[in-house]
């Protein structure tokens, strides 16, 4: 179905955008300030890229077939919940670290990013519903 292919493309592209943004904003190998030749590894920042990578590679693959769409939907939902909790935690930690004032809580926190993560979830939901509502013969 053409609509389903468009939804899978949307899911792939929105998660690819997420992965690239995460890697750009929170690179997990950072040059040491004292000696830029040495790279410092951050496990927390790796998690940001790793979960986004799973969202780019595994979730669209699971959504390709009706048999695995349920697992795609579950994994996608789990990743969006992890993303929401971790991004909100990151913002609260930033607030405590005074990286932005409380008055800018809506625009400069990760609230817009959390909204994008939920868009990813609802694209997955539309895909899952399209598999479950279609007759088995049409749903590959």
């Amino acid at each position: 179905m053409a609509e389903r292919r468009a939804l899978i493309a949307a899911l792939f592209l929105i998660s690819l955008g997420g992965l690239l943004l995460h890697y750009r904003i929170h690179p997990f190998l950072i040059p040491d300030k004292a000696n830029p030749a040495i790279l410092i590894f951050s496990g927390t920042k790796l998690v940001a890229s790793l979960l986004s990578f799973v969202d780019v590679v595994i979730v669209p693959l699971l959504f390709l077939s009706r048999r695995t769409a349920l697992y795609g939907y579950l994994l996608n939902g789990l990743l969006v919940i992890y993303g929401s909790v971790l991004m909100a935690h990151f913002s609260i930690a930033g607030l405590a670290g005074k990286t932005f004032p409380v008055s800018e809580l809506i625009l400069r926190s990760t609230l817009p990013d959390i909204a994008i993560a939920w868009t990813d979830f609802f694209i997955g939901k539309a895909l899952y519903d399209s598999y479950m509502n279609a007759p088995v013969s049409q749903s590959a």
């Binding site: 496990g43 927390t44 998690v47 579950l74 789990l78 992890y82 971790l86 935690h89 990151f90 930690a93 930033g94 405590a96 670290g97 005074k98 990286t99």
Partner: protein, 34 residues
Amino acid sequence: MIQYFLRYKPGWWILHIIAVSATFWLGAGVRFTF
């Protein structure tokens, strides 16, 4: 009690135990420094 556990397939339990463990592991592991 046992009937409660048998209401769901083993895969359901395995999946949930993995998800809950991963959540705790992530929560314990992340450190946001500013």
